[in-house]
Symmetry: C2
Subunit: 150 residues, 2 copies
């Protein structure tokens, strides 16, 4: 069985432990943060990330990424592998449209289950009432340091 | 001797092997890529990154990040450490104003020397005629997974 390039890109995204998510702030600067996420499969693959219990300076609704997404739902992200052997570098870059998902949204419990399946760290956190970011309408492109296609 | 928080943030940035840089594309989406860089010290610390010989699909001037910076010099970046022990997570997030530096610019040779000092991979690449991205007017903020200041 041959994987299509898109299947290979989605597999690379799905397996990564961390990515970097960029939103646009109120002053027009891109704002990048590392983020943990799960990829929900299906005909419309969706990336989900929970506003978790890692220490925050502010309440969830005041988080920069939440404010930014409400103002400007176009987001970008990258999932990559760094290696000192630069022929082994690789990344999948993506963009999509983000929205906030509150507890009670039909998508919330499935997304939380996917995140707990991927990250044991989430299994002991109380996340049932936490907001989530869902990124859909994904467009991906990929690159490898050896010049080969994904 | 006590390091100030800003000194600690700059040291973390300086030592990182890879960061992620976000620009804004012509459709208003943030576009994130991994990037290798050096931090030039001084009263106005500057991050420099060369359009190197890693395989590209297009000529340097057509690279998305170059086109984006010419249109929209406000950029963002993040330098972070991922660890499965989330109390060890850390990042320095920054924003700044980017400009392109061509060969012949007074800054070019010093920046290239700094990049070659940091990355042995650059010592055998012909980079004297390559454009560079310089990011100045840096504003940094930092975060640690254990809730402590940097």
């Amino acid at each position: 069985m041959v994987m299509s390039r898109q299947d290979a890109e989605l597999a690379f995204v799905r397996e990564a432990r961390v990515g970097r998510l960029a939103t646009i702030d109120s002053q027009g600067f891109p704002s990048v943060v590392p983020f943990c996420f799960a990829l929900l499969p299906g005909p419309e693959p969706t990336i989900v990330s929970v506003l978790d219990e890692k220490p925050k300076r502010v309440a969830d609704g005041e988080l920069a990424r939440v404010r930014n997404i409400r103002m400007h739902p176009s987001v970008g992200f990258v999932i990559d592998r760094y290696d000192e052997d630069w022929s082994r570098l690789a990344f999948v870059q993506g963009r999509g449209i983000a929205r906030m998902i509150e507890a009670g949204d039909p998508m919330h419990s499935g997304a939380l289950a996917a995140l707990r399946d991927k990250y044991p760290q989430y299994r002991t956190m109380m996340l049932e009432n936490r907001g989530m970011i869902a990124i859909a309408a994904l467009r991906l492109r990929s690159w490898r340091g050896d010049g080969q296609p994904f």
